[in-house]
Amino acid sequence: MSTLKLDLENYKELLKEYIRTKDEQALYQAEQFSKQSMQQKISPDEIINVHIQSLQEMYPEMPDYIQASLNFLLETMISYGVAYQEHQSLREKQLELKSEISVAANMQKTLLSTVKPEIDEIEIGALSVPAKQMNGDYHHFVYDDQGTLGIAVADVIGKGVPAALCMSMIKYAMDSFPEMRMDPSGILSSLNRVVERNVDSSMFVTMFYGSYDSRDHTFSYSSAGHEPGFYYHQDKDEFEEIDVPGLVLGVSAETSYTQYKKKVEKGDMIILLTDGVTECRQGDRFIEQEEVLSVIKSYAHLPAQEIVDQVYKYFERLQDFYLRDDFTLIVLRRNV
Protein backbone atom coordinates (compact mmCIF):
# COMPACT_ATOMS: atom_id res chain seq x y z
CA MET A 1 0.00 0.00 0.00
CA SER A 2 2.86 2.34 0.67
CA THR A 3 4.16 2.62 -2.85
CA LEU A 4 0.99 3.91 -4.49
CA LYS A 5 1.59 6.21 -7.36
CA LEU A 6 -0.75 7.91 -9.68
CA ASP A 7 0.03 5.62 -12.50
CA LEU A 8 -2.41 4.08 -14.83
CA GLU A 9 -1.63 0.51 -13.87
CA ASN A 10 -2.19 1.10 -10.21
CA TYR A 11 -5.46 2.92 -10.67
CA LYS A 12 -6.63 0.34 -13.17
CA GLU A 13 -5.90 -2.48 -10.73
CA LEU A 14 -7.75 -0.78 -7.92
CA LEU A 15 -10.70 -0.05 -10.16
CA LYS A 16 -10.77 -3.58 -11.51
CA GLU A 17 -10.67 -4.92 -7.99
CA TYR A 18 -13.58 -2.80 -6.97
CA ILE A 19 -15.72 -3.63 -9.99
CA ARG A 20 -15.13 -7.31 -9.24
CA THR A 21 -15.72 -7.29 -5.48
CA LYS A 22 -17.61 -4.08 -4.78
CA ASP A 23 -16.36 -4.34 -1.23
CA GLU A 24 -15.24 -1.84 1.36
CA GLN A 25 -11.61 -2.95 1.20
CA ALA A 26 -11.31 -1.71 -2.37
CA LEU A 27 -13.01 1.55 -1.47
CA TYR A 28 -10.60 2.01 1.39
CA GLN A 29 -7.78 1.64 -1.11
CA ALA A 30 -9.43 4.28 -3.28
CA GLU A 31 -9.40 6.60 -0.27
CA GLN A 32 -5.71 5.92 0.31
CA PHE A 33 -5.10 6.52 -3.36
CA SER A 34 -6.83 9.89 -3.28
CA LYS A 35 -4.90 11.00 -0.19
CA GLN A 36 -1.63 10.02 -1.72
CA SER A 37 -2.55 11.81 -4.93
CA MET A 38 -3.22 14.96 -2.96
CA GLN A 39 0.13 14.68 -1.25
CA GLN A 40 1.67 14.64 -4.68
CA LYS A 41 -0.48 17.65 -5.59
CA ILE A 42 -2.27 15.78 -8.34
CA SER A 43 -5.32 17.70 -9.45
CA PRO A 44 -8.80 16.20 -9.88
CA ASP A 45 -8.82 16.42 -13.67
CA GLU A 46 -5.81 14.14 -13.82
CA ILE A 47 -7.63 11.49 -11.79
CA ILE A 48 -10.57 11.67 -14.19
CA ASN A 49 -8.15 11.33 -17.06
CA VAL A 50 -6.60 8.22 -15.55
CA HIS A 51 -10.09 6.85 -14.95
CA ILE A 52 -11.03 7.32 -18.60
CA GLN A 53 -7.84 5.67 -19.78
CA SER A 54 -8.32 2.75 -17.42
CA LEU A 55 -11.85 2.20 -18.67
CA GLN A 56 -10.71 2.34 -22.28
CA GLU A 57 -8.13 -0.33 -21.60
CA MET A 58 -10.46 -2.53 -19.59
CA TYR A 59 -13.43 -2.17 -21.92
CA PRO A 60 -12.22 -1.48 -25.44
CA GLU A 61 -15.77 -2.00 -26.64
CA MET A 62 -17.07 0.79 -24.41
CA PRO A 63 -20.12 2.42 -26.01
CA ASP A 64 -19.43 5.70 -27.71
CA TYR A 65 -21.87 7.67 -25.57
CA ILE A 66 -20.03 6.63 -22.40
CA GLN A 67 -16.72 7.70 -23.90
CA ALA A 68 -18.28 11.02 -24.91
CA SER A 69 -19.82 11.56 -21.50
CA LEU A 70 -16.47 10.94 -19.82
CA ASN A 71 -14.79 13.48 -22.07
CA PHE A 72 -17.53 15.89 -21.12
CA LEU A 73 -16.85 15.24 -17.43
CA LEU A 74 -13.14 15.77 -17.99
CA GLU A 75 -13.80 19.13 -19.60
CA THR A 76 -15.84 20.29 -16.63
CA MET A 77 -13.04 19.34 -14.26
CA ILE A 78 -10.27 21.36 -15.91
CA SER A 79 -11.11 24.58 -14.10
CA TYR A 80 -11.33 22.69 -10.81
CA GLY A 81 -7.83 21.47 -11.49
CA VAL A 82 -6.62 25.03 -12.00
CA ALA A 83 -8.42 26.13 -8.83
CA TYR A 84 -6.80 23.28 -6.93
CA GLN A 85 -3.35 24.36 -8.04
CA GLU A 86 -4.14 27.95 -7.16
CA HIS A 87 -5.23 26.77 -3.73
CA GLN A 88 -1.93 24.96 -3.28
CA SER A 89 0.10 28.02 -4.11
CA LEU A 90 -2.04 30.28 -1.93
CA ARG A 91 -1.50 27.87 0.92
CA GLU A 92 2.23 28.10 0.50
CA LYS A 93 1.98 31.87 0.43
CA GLN A 94 -0.11 31.80 3.58
CA LEU A 95 2.51 29.76 5.40
CA GLU A 96 5.13 32.24 4.28
CA LEU A 97 3.06 35.15 5.61
CA LYS A 98 2.44 33.33 8.86
CA SER A 99 6.11 32.83 9.48
CA GLU A 100 6.84 36.44 8.58
CA ILE A 101 4.22 37.61 11.04
CA SER A 102 5.61 35.43 13.76
CA VAL A 103 9.04 36.97 13.21
CA ALA A 104 7.42 40.41 13.39
CA ALA A 105 5.54 39.40 16.53
CA ASN A 106 8.80 38.40 18.17
CA MET A 107 10.37 41.69 17.18
CA GLN A 108 7.40 43.50 18.62
CA LYS A 109 7.72 41.60 21.87
CA THR A 110 11.30 42.78 22.16
CA LEU A 111 10.44 46.34 21.14
CA LEU A 112 7.56 46.73 23.55
CA SER A 113 8.99 44.73 26.39
CA THR A 114 8.78 46.30 29.80
CA VAL A 115 10.28 45.20 33.07
CA LYS A 116 7.98 45.00 36.04
CA PRO A 117 9.84 46.93 38.74
CA GLU A 118 10.34 45.30 42.13
CA ILE A 119 9.30 47.85 44.72
CA ASP A 120 8.81 47.18 48.44
CA GLU A 121 5.91 49.59 48.79
CA ILE A 122 3.90 48.45 45.78
CA GLU A 123 3.10 45.02 44.53
CA ILE A 124 2.55 44.79 40.79
CA GLY A 125 0.77 42.20 38.71
CA ALA A 126 0.66 42.59 34.93
CA LEU A 127 -0.42 40.45 32.01
CA SER A 128 -0.96 41.23 28.33
CA VAL A 129 -2.09 38.57 25.88
CA PRO A 130 -2.66 39.29 22.19
CA ALA A 131 -5.76 37.87 20.49
CA LYS A 132 -3.83 37.28 17.32
CA GLN A 133 -0.11 37.03 16.92
CA MET A 134 0.55 40.72 17.30
CA ASN A 135 -0.54 42.79 20.25
CA GLY A 136 -2.48 46.06 19.86
CA ASP A 137 -2.37 46.60 23.60
CA TYR A 138 0.56 48.15 25.31
CA HIS A 139 1.65 48.66 28.88
CA HIS A 140 4.80 50.07 30.25
CA PHE A 141 6.39 50.68 33.64
CA VAL A 142 9.03 53.24 34.60
CA TYR A 143 10.42 53.60 38.07
CA ASP A 144 12.68 56.51 38.87
CA ASP A 145 15.10 57.17 41.70
CA GLN A 146 12.64 59.55 43.37
CA GLY A 147 10.34 56.64 44.10
CA THR A 148 7.77 57.37 41.43
CA LEU A 149 6.30 54.58 39.37
CA GLY A 150 4.85 55.49 35.99
CA ILE A 151 2.35 53.14 34.39
CA ALA A 152 1.00 53.42 30.86
CA VAL A 153 -1.80 51.25 29.52
CA ALA A 154 -2.90 51.77 25.94
CA ASP A 155 -5.13 50.17 23.38
CA VAL A 156 -5.25 50.80 19.66
CA ILE A 157 -8.76 50.54 18.27
CA GLY A 158 -8.16 47.71 15.87
CA LYS A 159 -6.21 44.50 16.01
CA GLY A 160 -3.37 42.72 14.34
CA VAL A 161 -0.51 44.15 12.34
CA PRO A 162 -1.73 47.77 11.85
CA ALA A 163 -2.48 48.12 15.55
CA ALA A 164 0.88 46.66 16.44
CA LEU A 165 2.75 49.04 14.13
CA CYS A 166 0.93 51.95 15.70
CA MET A 167 1.86 50.73 19.18
CA SER A 168 5.53 50.56 18.34
CA MET A 169 5.37 54.21 17.34
CA ILE A 170 3.71 55.18 20.62
CA LYS A 171 6.39 53.39 22.56
CA TYR A 172 9.17 55.29 20.82
CA ALA A 173 7.35 58.57 21.17
CA MET A 174 7.17 57.95 24.89
CA ASP A 175 10.84 57.09 25.06
CA SER A 176 11.66 60.38 23.42
CA PHE A 177 10.26 62.59 26.16
CA PRO A 178 11.54 61.22 29.43
CA GLU A 179 11.84 64.55 31.19
CA MET A 180 8.10 64.82 31.74
CA ARG A 181 7.56 61.13 32.23
CA MET A 182 6.03 61.47 35.65
CA ASP A 183 3.36 63.99 34.70
CA PRO A 184 0.37 62.07 33.31
CA SER A 185 -1.48 64.99 31.70
CA GLY A 186 1.70 66.26 30.03
CA ILE A 187 2.53 62.86 28.65
CA LEU A 188 -0.93 62.39 27.20
CA SER A 189 -0.92 65.85 25.60
CA SER A 190 2.45 65.22 23.96
CA LEU A 191 1.47 61.76 22.78
CA ASN A 192 -1.77 63.15 21.43
CA ARG A 193 0.17 65.49 19.15
CA VAL A 194 2.41 62.63 17.97
CA VAL A 195 -0.55 60.40 17.17
CA GLU A 196 -2.46 63.22 15.50
CA ARG A 197 0.48 63.98 13.22
CA ASN A 198 1.57 60.44 12.39
CA VAL A 199 -1.33 58.07 12.50
CA ASP A 200 -4.08 57.59 9.97
CA SER A 201 -7.24 59.34 11.11
CA SER A 202 -9.19 56.09 11.09
CA MET A 203 -7.01 54.73 13.86
CA PHE A 204 -7.56 55.72 17.46
CA VAL A 205 -5.48 55.11 20.51
CA THR A 206 -6.76 55.19 24.05
CA MET A 207 -4.38 55.49 26.95
CA PHE A 208 -4.42 55.64 30.69
CA TYR A 209 -1.36 57.08 32.33
CA GLY A 210 -0.83 56.94 36.06
CA SER A 211 2.04 57.77 38.31
CA TYR A 212 2.33 56.36 41.77
CA ASP A 213 4.37 58.26 44.31
CA SER A 214 5.66 55.67 46.75
CA ARG A 215 6.73 58.32 49.27
CA ASP A 216 3.31 59.72 50.05
CA HIS A 217 1.24 56.98 48.43
CA THR A 218 -0.66 59.15 46.04
CA PHE A 219 -1.72 58.12 42.60
CA SER A 220 -1.96 60.81 39.87
CA TYR A 221 -3.60 59.90 36.60
CA SER A 222 -5.10 61.09 33.33
CA SER A 223 -7.02 59.23 30.71
CA ALA A 224 -7.35 59.61 26.96
CA GLY A 225 -10.67 57.89 26.42
CA HIS A 226 -9.37 54.70 27.95
CA GLU A 227 -11.43 51.93 29.49
CA PRO A 228 -12.17 52.98 33.11
CA GLY A 229 -10.02 51.31 35.74
CA PHE A 230 -11.05 50.41 39.29
CA TYR A 231 -9.96 51.26 42.77
CA TYR A 232 -10.41 48.53 45.35
CA HIS A 233 -11.05 49.52 48.98
CA GLN A 234 -9.82 46.69 51.10
CA ASP A 235 -11.61 47.80 54.26
CA LYS A 236 -15.03 47.86 52.60
CA ASP A 237 -14.24 45.07 50.09
CA GLU A 238 -15.65 47.34 47.41
CA PHE A 239 -14.68 48.66 44.00
CA GLU A 240 -14.85 52.24 42.85
CA GLU A 241 -14.68 53.08 39.17
CA ILE A 242 -11.79 55.28 38.04
CA ASP A 243 -13.64 56.93 35.19
CA VAL A 244 -12.17 60.22 34.09
CA PRO A 245 -13.01 62.24 31.00
CA GLY A 246 -10.48 62.71 28.18
CA LEU A 247 -10.54 62.53 24.41
CA VAL A 248 -8.87 59.56 22.67
CA LEU A 249 -5.41 60.30 21.27
CA GLY A 250 -5.10 61.61 17.75
CA VAL A 251 -8.46 63.31 17.28
CA SER A 252 -7.41 66.92 17.73
CA ALA A 253 -3.95 68.36 18.21
CA GLU A 254 -5.23 70.92 20.73
CA THR A 255 -6.61 68.48 23.27
CA SER A 256 -5.52 68.87 26.86
CA TYR A 257 -5.95 66.34 29.63
CA THR A 258 -7.02 66.89 33.20
CA GLN A 259 -4.97 65.25 35.89
CA TYR A 260 -6.51 63.70 39.00
CA LYS A 261 -4.95 62.61 42.25
CA LYS A 262 -5.97 60.01 44.77
CA LYS A 263 -4.59 58.87 48.10
CA VAL A 264 -3.96 55.14 48.24
CA GLU A 265 -4.51 53.30 51.52
CA LYS A 266 -2.64 50.24 52.66
CA GLY A 267 -3.98 47.01 51.10
CA ASP A 268 -5.97 48.90 48.47
CA MET A 269 -5.57 48.06 44.81
CA ILE A 270 -5.61 49.93 41.53
CA ILE A 271 -6.84 47.88 38.60
CA LEU A 272 -6.08 49.00 35.04
CA LEU A 273 -7.24 47.16 31.99
CA THR A 274 -8.14 47.27 28.31
CA ASP A 275 -11.51 46.52 26.76
CA GLY A 276 -10.32 43.01 25.96
CA VAL A 277 -11.05 42.31 29.62
CA THR A 278 -14.38 44.04 29.99
CA GLU A 279 -15.63 42.91 26.62
CA CYS A 280 -15.07 39.25 27.19
CA ARG A 281 -17.90 37.23 25.76
CA GLN A 282 -19.61 34.05 26.68
CA GLY A 283 -21.20 32.88 23.47
CA ASP A 284 -22.95 35.98 22.16
CA ARG A 285 -23.32 37.57 25.56
CA PHE A 286 -20.97 40.28 26.75
CA ILE A 287 -20.12 39.72 30.38
CA GLU A 288 -21.25 42.38 32.85
CA GLN A 289 -18.86 44.66 34.63
CA GLU A 290 -20.01 43.13 37.93
CA GLU A 291 -18.81 39.77 36.76
CA VAL A 292 -15.33 41.09 36.01
CA LEU A 293 -15.20 42.68 39.43
CA SER A 294 -16.50 39.67 41.28
CA VAL A 295 -13.91 37.49 39.59
CA ILE A 296 -11.16 39.91 40.60
CA LYS A 297 -12.59 40.04 44.11
CA SER A 298 -12.58 36.26 44.41
CA TYR A 299 -8.84 36.26 43.86
CA ALA A 300 -8.14 39.44 45.85
CA HIS A 301 -6.41 37.55 48.67
CA LEU A 302 -3.69 36.31 46.29
CA PRO A 303 -0.42 38.07 45.35
CA ALA A 304 -0.98 40.70 42.60
CA GLN A 305 0.61 38.67 39.79
CA GLU A 306 -1.49 35.66 40.68
CA ILE A 307 -4.64 37.76 40.63
CA VAL A 308 -4.06 38.78 37.01
CA ASP A 309 -3.02 35.27 35.99
CA GLN A 310 -6.08 33.71 37.60
CA VAL A 311 -8.47 36.31 36.18
CA TYR A 312 -7.03 35.68 32.72
CA LYS A 313 -7.39 31.93 33.11
CA TYR A 314 -10.98 32.37 34.22
CA PHE A 315 -11.96 34.41 31.16
CA GLU A 316 -9.91 32.27 28.82
CA ARG A 317 -11.93 29.27 29.97
CA LEU A 318 -15.18 31.21 29.79
CA GLN A 319 -14.49 32.09 26.16
CA ASP A 320 -13.47 28.57 25.20
CA PHE A 321 -9.82 29.57 24.90
CA TYR A 322 -10.49 31.93 22.06
CA LEU A 323 -9.64 35.60 22.66
CA ARG A 324 -11.48 38.07 20.44
CA ASP A 325 -9.49 41.07 21.57
CA ASP A 326 -6.10 41.72 23.11
CA PHE A 327 -6.29 41.29 26.87
CA THR A 328 -4.30 43.46 29.27
CA LEU A 329 -4.75 43.58 33.02
CA ILE A 330 -2.63 45.35 35.61
CA VAL A 331 -3.04 45.25 39.38
CA LEU A 332 -1.14 47.53 41.77
CA ARG A 333 -1.43 47.03 45.51
CA ARG A 334 -0.05 49.17 48.28
CA ASN A 335 1.83 46.84 50.58
CA VAL A 336 3.30 48.98 53.31
Binding site: N71, E75, I78, S79, E86, S89
Partner: protein, 133 residues
Protein backbone atom coordinates in the same frame (compact mmCIF):
# COMPACT_ATOMS: atom_id res chain seq x y z
CA UNK B 1 5.21 35.96 -37.80
CA UNK B 2 3.70 33.25 -39.85
CA UNK B 3 0.78 31.77 -38.06
CA UNK B 4 -0.93 28.66 -39.12
CA UNK B 5 -4.35 30.08 -38.41
CA UNK B 6 -6.14 32.83 -36.54
CA UNK B 7 -9.63 33.42 -35.21
CA UNK B 8 -10.91 36.95 -34.89
CA UNK B 9 -12.64 37.66 -31.59
CA UNK B 10 -15.54 40.09 -31.86
CA UNK B 11 -18.45 38.42 -30.19
CA UNK B 12 -18.79 35.81 -27.48
CA UNK B 13 -19.51 33.11 -30.06
CA UNK B 14 -16.00 33.56 -31.44
CA UNK B 15 -14.60 32.15 -28.20
CA UNK B 16 -16.14 28.80 -29.17
CA UNK B 17 -14.62 29.07 -32.64
CA UNK B 18 -11.19 29.69 -31.16
CA UNK B 19 -11.53 26.72 -28.81
CA UNK B 20 -12.62 24.50 -31.68
CA UNK B 21 -9.74 25.44 -33.94
CA UNK B 22 -7.22 25.22 -31.11
CA UNK B 23 -8.45 21.81 -30.07
CA UNK B 24 -8.31 20.50 -33.63
CA UNK B 25 -4.73 21.68 -34.04
CA UNK B 26 -3.78 20.23 -30.64
CA UNK B 27 -5.30 16.89 -31.58
CA UNK B 28 -3.42 16.81 -34.87
CA UNK B 29 -0.17 17.52 -33.08
CA UNK B 30 -0.88 14.53 -30.91
CA UNK B 31 -2.10 15.91 -27.57
CA UNK B 32 -4.26 13.58 -25.47
CA UNK B 33 -7.77 14.29 -24.26
CA UNK B 34 -6.80 15.91 -20.98
CA UNK B 35 -4.25 18.22 -22.59
CA UNK B 36 -6.71 19.10 -25.34
CA UNK B 37 -9.15 20.10 -22.62
CA UNK B 38 -6.50 22.18 -20.87
CA UNK B 39 -5.48 23.90 -24.06
CA UNK B 40 -9.12 24.64 -24.87
CA UNK B 41 -9.64 26.11 -21.40
CA UNK B 42 -6.59 28.33 -21.79
CA UNK B 43 -7.84 29.51 -25.20
CA UNK B 44 -11.23 30.29 -23.67
CA UNK B 45 -9.62 32.37 -21.01
CA UNK B 46 -7.45 34.34 -23.44
CA UNK B 47 -10.30 34.85 -25.90
CA UNK B 48 -12.71 35.89 -23.16
CA UNK B 49 -10.23 38.46 -21.90
CA UNK B 50 -10.12 39.97 -25.38
CA UNK B 51 -13.91 39.92 -25.66
CA UNK B 52 -14.46 41.45 -22.21
CA UNK B 53 -11.69 44.00 -21.96
CA UNK B 54 -10.45 44.86 -25.43
CA UNK B 55 -13.63 44.37 -27.43
CA UNK B 56 -11.87 42.92 -30.45
CA UNK B 57 -8.68 41.08 -31.20
CA UNK B 58 -7.51 37.72 -32.44
CA UNK B 59 -6.23 34.39 -31.24
CA UNK B 60 -3.65 32.67 -33.44
CA UNK B 61 -2.27 29.17 -33.36
CA UNK B 62 1.03 27.77 -34.41
CA UNK B 63 2.15 24.14 -34.49
CA UNK B 64 5.69 23.98 -33.16
CA UNK B 65 8.09 21.38 -34.45
CA UNK B 66 11.57 21.23 -33.10
CA UNK B 67 14.08 18.45 -33.39
CA UNK B 68 13.24 16.82 -30.11
CA UNK B 69 9.73 17.98 -29.32
CA UNK B 70 6.45 19.18 -30.68
CA UNK B 71 4.05 21.68 -29.21
CA UNK B 72 1.43 24.31 -29.76
CA UNK B 73 1.77 28.06 -29.42
CA UNK B 74 -1.24 30.28 -28.90
CA UNK B 75 -0.97 34.02 -29.32
CA UNK B 76 -3.73 36.37 -28.22
CA UNK B 77 -3.44 39.88 -29.60
CA UNK B 78 -5.65 42.89 -29.02
CA UNK B 79 -5.50 46.65 -29.42
CA UNK B 80 -7.39 47.27 -26.20
CA UNK B 81 -6.57 49.49 -23.24
CA UNK B 82 -3.66 47.34 -22.10
CA UNK B 83 -2.97 46.10 -18.62
CA UNK B 84 -1.76 48.65 -16.11
CA UNK B 85 -0.37 46.38 -13.44
CA UNK B 86 0.72 43.10 -14.94
CA UNK B 87 2.04 41.82 -11.63
CA UNK B 88 -1.39 42.38 -10.16
CA UNK B 89 -3.31 40.42 -12.79
CA UNK B 90 -0.76 37.62 -12.51
CA UNK B 91 -1.43 37.33 -8.80
CA UNK B 92 -3.44 34.40 -7.50
CA UNK B 93 -6.87 35.34 -6.27
CA UNK B 94 -6.95 38.53 -8.34
CA UNK B 95 -9.38 37.53 -11.03
CA UNK B 96 -10.74 40.30 -13.18
CA UNK B 97 -13.70 38.31 -14.41
CA UNK B 98 -15.38 38.31 -11.04
CA UNK B 99 -13.60 35.26 -9.68
CA UNK B 100 -15.29 32.96 -12.18
CA UNK B 101 -12.52 32.44 -14.67
CA UNK B 102 -9.15 30.90 -14.07
CA UNK B 103 -7.63 34.27 -14.91
CA UNK B 104 -4.17 34.71 -16.33
CA UNK B 105 -2.49 32.75 -13.51
CA UNK B 106 -4.79 29.87 -14.49
CA UNK B 107 -3.69 30.12 -18.11
CA UNK B 108 -0.10 30.03 -16.95
CA UNK B 109 -0.79 26.87 -14.97
CA UNK B 110 -2.55 25.17 -17.87
CA UNK B 111 0.35 25.81 -20.24
CA UNK B 112 4.12 25.34 -20.09
CA UNK B 113 5.29 28.78 -21.19
CA UNK B 114 3.69 32.14 -20.70
CA UNK B 115 4.74 35.51 -22.08
CA UNK B 116 2.90 38.78 -21.83
CA UNK B 117 3.54 42.19 -23.36
CA UNK B 118 1.17 45.00 -22.65
CA UNK B 119 1.26 48.69 -23.25
CA UNK B 120 -1.27 51.07 -21.83
CA UNK B 121 -3.50 52.45 -24.53
CA UNK B 122 -1.96 50.22 -27.19
CA UNK B 123 -2.91 46.69 -26.39
CA UNK B 124 -1.81 43.35 -25.10
CA UNK B 125 -0.08 40.34 -26.59
CA UNK B 126 0.04 37.07 -24.72
CA UNK B 127 1.92 34.07 -26.08
CA UNK B 128 1.59 30.68 -24.44
CA UNK B 129 3.11 27.34 -25.36
CA UNK B 130 2.35 23.78 -24.42
CA UNK B 131 4.77 21.02 -25.26
CA UNK B 132 3.81 17.49 -26.09
CA UNK B 133 5.23 15.05 -23.56
Amino acid sequence: MDFQSCVNIKKEWDIVGARQLGRDIARKIGFGTVDQARIATAISELARNIYLYAGTGKVCFEALEEIDHKGIAIVAIDNGPGIQEISQVMEDGFSTSGGLGAGLPGVKRLMDEFNIHSEEGKGTEIRVVKWLR
